[in-house]
């Protein structure tokens, strides 16, 4: 075990997986010489050479499209999208090809593509460096999606994604890249897709979150100590989803607040709420509540804190639910 920052754990995973499997290669904008704008790919070019850590032209659809062909040639590409909202041009490839190509070949070919990107707000950045696009990805058939909230999971989920035979999108919460520090297993470390994690045990209310909203929920749970006992469920894997863990925690507390920083309407929280409505209705002591971003473009950073779910807004939802 070594103590690492979340972004260092991402880097560690890439080093371990490239060393483990020589068909794994990294491609993206500024991933080579610069080592990535967040340094997630630092050291890969020197260690593995220019054929396995490739600086590409500025072409997000080209990167992901090329990755489809690279798979056909026997590679296991790991594509970096420099920022969440810079990934939108690659949605064309993702929707029209990446999620469908295996199916289109009657299941005869595999497309083990990993797409990883820093996502989310709170970093005082210009427009389109702050989005939470997970819903677009989860809504696309053929794609798996995972979002870590701890350094150990950042390493383990990325390793699982790279080894998975299906395309996987990993969204890395950039606001906690260098604030979340934790013990990370050395060498090979895999956290299987499809397993949620209880980040904190509690008995009154379940806070369901992923990414940077997990530490936000943990802070809320801490703040509410003595008033309400909050369980925090870290979803980790949006598809495949660990429904069992969600239903078990809802069954235990009977109250669920879902927290996401993405806009509200048709966000992933709506899917979680629908599952609870379908499968946990008799366990629930009140409505499933959502604390989310708003249905507006991610705001100018002078007022971004007003957009982001906060301890105050999450506490408000918890109190409403307990008083219901």
């Amino acid at each position: 075990m070594t103590e690492k920052l979340l972004v260092e754990a991402v880097n560690d995973a890439l080093h371990v997986e490239l060393a483990r499997d020589e068909s794994v290669m990294v491609l993206g904008e500024d991933v080579g010489r610069a080592g990535g704008v967040f340094r997630a790919t630092a050291g890969l070019l020197d260690r593995f050479g220019e054929n396995r850590c490739v600086d590409t032209p500025l072409a997000e659809a080209g990167i992901l499209g090329a990755a489809v062909g690279l798979c056909m040639a026997g590679w296991r590409p790991v594509c970096e999208m420099q920022y969440d909202a810079f990934s939108y041009p690659c949605l064309d490839q993702l929707i029209t090809h990446v999620g469908r190509y295996r199916w289109r070949t009657g299941g005869t070919m595999e497309f083990p593509i990993t797409v990883r990107m820093p996502y989310g707000g709170g970093v005082r950045a210009p427009e389109l460096h702050d989005d939470s696009p997970e819903t677009y990805y989860v809504h696309t058939p053929g794609i798996k999606v995972a979002i870590p909230s701890t350094p150990a999971d950042a390493k383990g989920l990325l390793a699982a994604a790279i080894r998975d035979p299906d395309p996987v999108v990993i969204l890395e919460p950039k606001v906690i890249y260098r604030t979340e520090r934790g013990e990370v297993p050395d060498g090979e470390h895999v956290v299987p897709l499809g397993k949620a994690r209880i980040a904190r045990e509690g008995t009154d209310v379940t806070l369901v979150a992923y990414g940077a909203m997990v530490p936000m929920c943990l802070r809320t749970a801490e703040a509410l100590q003595g008033e309400a006992s909050c369980e925090v469920l870290d979803v980790r894997s949006l598809r495949p989803l660990d429904e069992e863990a969600l239903l078990a925690s809802a069954g235990k507390t009977g109250r669920v607040v879902i927290v996401q920083e993405a806009p509200r309407t048709v966000g992933f929280g709506a899917e979680l709420a629908a599952i609870l409505a379908e499968k946990a209705i008799l366990d629930l002591r009140g409505p499933v509540l959502r604390v989310t971003g708003f249905d507006v473009p991610y705001p100018y950073w002078k007022i971004e804190d007003m957009y982001m779910p906060s301890v105050e807004r999450i506490s408000h939802a918890v109190r409403r639910l307990i008083e219901f």
């Binding site: 290669m25 054929n51 590409t56 032209p57 072409a59 659809a61 080209g62 992901l64 499209g65 090329a66 990755a67 489809v68 062909g69 690279l70 798979c71 056909m72 040639a73 026997g74 590679w75 041009p89 064309d92 490839q93 029209t96 090809h97 999620g99 469908r100 190509y101 295996r102 199916w103 289109r104 070949t105 009657g106 299941g107 005869t108 070919m109 595999e110 058939p141 053929g142 798996k144 998975d164 035979p165 299906d166 499809g194 598809r239 495949p240 989803l241 429904e243």
Partner: protein, 343 residues
């Protein structure tokens, strides 16, 4: 406005000039002819099958056979082909059974072949988005030290798409062994080339990517063959991608659902039909003394038999198992995939 017209002098030609190509003897000439006849027969029969309700909507490629056969014959078996829907039957030239392609147009999953069996990628339905795939395959082969190159087919309209640009540029930057083959039939459904670009020729676009661009008569199978052979040699020599603009004129509707009378120049269509690529090649082969009535009848009858067997096999295929709904999208499917299904 610049008009690219079939018949301009700068197009590379072989047939009309009665040139002969090095390394192309009687056997090769007849192999090319067999391929063209097979494609032509596939296309003409498909139109009939569509009218009879035996296949669904179908993208006609009549008069594109010279471009498809001429270019594929310049490839080696290990080279990869990335077809658009206009090249749906190009796999026949790699030994794919006609029934497989007919299945595809019948909406049956038996038509979804394994690309690595034929080195023919799946049919790309959206425009130009397969250009980056071909660039990635070619680049990936090069990185692995393999000799294979790739060819990607697209129409004139595709050159307006972002994916064409990203794929072409990617291939050039990576010096990928790729042939970008544009079948410029001058129409994207109802949009003429003049509304697609202000470039004088589509081959001019190659300059911006730092790759050679060449224009050939798309109705001249040997000109297409020669141009593709040069591009393949260049790719194998590690000199990177090339762009081929094969110029023709769409003498048939875009697809079975299209009625071009509303927009196309009907006189021009009639003129093109008289000069269609298979007839031109037959006349050339006859001038050379390579083709006679008997051989022509034999080759055409072989192709007709293959199509008869193909449609018979396609129609004999049982309906797909509904369980296929849930198969093949994932190697390891998520557990809730069948949510809502009544067993």
């Amino acid at each position: 406005m610049a008009q690219v017209a079939h018949g301009e002098p700068e197009l590379r030609r072989v047939i009309d000039e009665d040139r002969e190509l090095d390394g192309v003897g009687e056997q090769e000439l007849l192999d090319l002819y067999r391929s063209m006849v097979l494609l032509r027969t596939y296309d003409e029969r498909s139109l009939v099958y569509h009218r009879q309700g035996r296949i669904g909507t179908y993208a006609i490629f009549w008069n594109h056979e010279a471009m498809q056969a001429g270019s594929v014959h310049a490839l080696a078996r290990e080279d990869w082909i990335f077809p658009s829907y206009r090249e749906s039957a190009i796999g026949l030239l790699r030994g794919m059974p006609p029934a497989t392609v007919l299945h595809w147009w019948r909406g049956h999953p038996a038509g979804w072949w394994n690309p690595s069996e034929y080195n023919v990628a799946s049919i790309c339905v959206p425009i130009a988005t397969h250009v980056p795939h071909a660039a990635g395959l070619a680049w990936g082969k090069k990185l692995k030290g393999e000799a294979a190159c790739a060819i990607v087919y697209f129409g004139d309209g595709a050159t307006s798409e972002g994916a064409f640009h990203e794929g072409a540029n990617f291939a050039a930057v990576m010096q990928a062994p790729l042939i970008l083959f544009c079948n410029n039939n001058q129409w994207a459904i109802s949009t003429p080339l003049s509304a697609q670009t202000r470039a004088e020729t589509l081959a001019d676009k190659a300059v911006g990517y730092g790759m050679p661009g060449t224009r050939v008569d798309g109705g001249d199978v040997l000109a297409v063959y020669e141009a593709t052979r040069e591009a393949v040699e260049r790719a194998r020599a590690g000199e990177g991608p090339s762009f081929i603009e094969a110029v023709t004129y769409r003498a048939a509707p875009h697809a079975t659902a299209d009625d071009p009378r509303a927009y196309i120049d009907l006189e021009r269509v009639e003129q093109e039909k008289k000069n269609e690529c298979l007839g031109r090649y037959e006349r050339y082969l006859r001038r050379l003394g390579v083709l006679g009535d008997e051989l022509e009848a034999e080759i055409k009858s072989e192709a007709a038999d293959a199509m008869r067997a193909g449609i018979t096999a396609a129609e004999a295929e049982p309906d797909p198992d509904p369980e296929l709904l849930f198969e093949n999208a994932y190697v390891i499917p998520p557990p809730n995939l069948r949510e809502g299904w009544i067993d």
